[in-house]
């Protein structure tokens, strides 16, 4: 089914963010594993899977709409050095993805592509409620428990 050019363009922009988030979670999860922070590894590895799921949905939809997924671009990818750095950088990516999602959802509405809009809503819900909120919680805990205690409870 031939889709609207703007919608396909929007999906490709989003794909750039999701791929960056995916790569970032991938390397962060392996860093946590290397440091023996197994609980953080488990959680971030799960986020990595989630982002891959998001990217899959975007790619599927673009192909269905007759578009060409851009697999090269990465937007906002930045690996952290310390635990708080890494969590902060992940949170920044989630905020950026959420912002972009809102813009593209609004655009789908004006282009009357309601099915794409619906699919993006699921992504937005995951991004806000699951990913961003969890990261905010961790940064809050680091503040309240102190970094050493926080890391101890992530082993």
């Amino acid at each position: 089914m031939q889709g609207n050019k703007n919608v396909i363009g929007g999906l490709n922009t989003l794909l750039g963010y999701e791929l960056a988030a995916m790569d970032q979670y991938f390397v962060h999860s392996q860093m946590y594993l290397d440091w023996g922070l197994n609980k953080l590894y488990e959680r971030i590895n799960h986020e990595f899977d989630d982002e891959k799921g998001h990217a899959t949905k975007l790619i599927e939809r673009m192909l269905f709409l007759g578009g060409k997924p851009d697999m090269q671009t990465r937007v906002g990818y930045k690996v952290g050095i310390t635990v708080p750095d890494m969590l902060q950088s992940d949170l920044r990516v989630e905020y950026e993805v959420a912002d972009k999602l809102r813009t593209v959802i609004a655009m789908c509405e004006t282009e009357k592509d309601y099915v794409t809009r619906d699919m993006l809503m699921i992504l937005l819900d995951d991004t806000e409620m699951d990913h961003a909120h969890w990261l905010e919680q961790q940064l809050g805990l680091i503040e309240m428990l102190g970094l050493s205690n926080y890391m101890q409870s992530q082993m």
Binding site: Q137, Q138, G140, L141, M144, L145, G146, N149, Y150, Q152, S153
Partner: protein, 157 residues
Amino acid sequence: MKGKPEVIKVLNEVLTTELTSINQYFLHARMYKNWGFEALNEKCYKKSIKDMKQADEIITRILFLEGLPNLQMLGKINIGEDPVEMLKCDAGFQTKQIPQMKDAIALCESHLDFVTRDLLTSILEYEEDHYDWLDTQAYQIEHLGIQNYLQSQVEED
């Protein structure tokens, strides 16, 4: 069965306290949850639900005594801004509720309403237990330090 007006009045006062307690503990529970303190969330959530069941028992008793349960009234809710403050607000709440319960029990005794007295005593026992739990938390915070204490509240028991 027609109850003594004094007993019905004091039951309504206890009801107001319970309704206030439900709200204070519920909001505190969800604040803890939002920060990721699952153990504290669990404890306060259960307290709130228990208060609701106690309110139910009091309402049922007032109706049985042919009185009118007053659900309009709500006392002042004290909400803290951080876990230490929140625990202090809750302890403050308990220290007011316990003497109130004791006075209500004494009043029931003087009016020979032994069944209401029994009901209030069972509530008092629970409130004392909760006060003791709050005391324990204060002790732990003092001796472990707030950061270690909070660390142990991150996950459910």
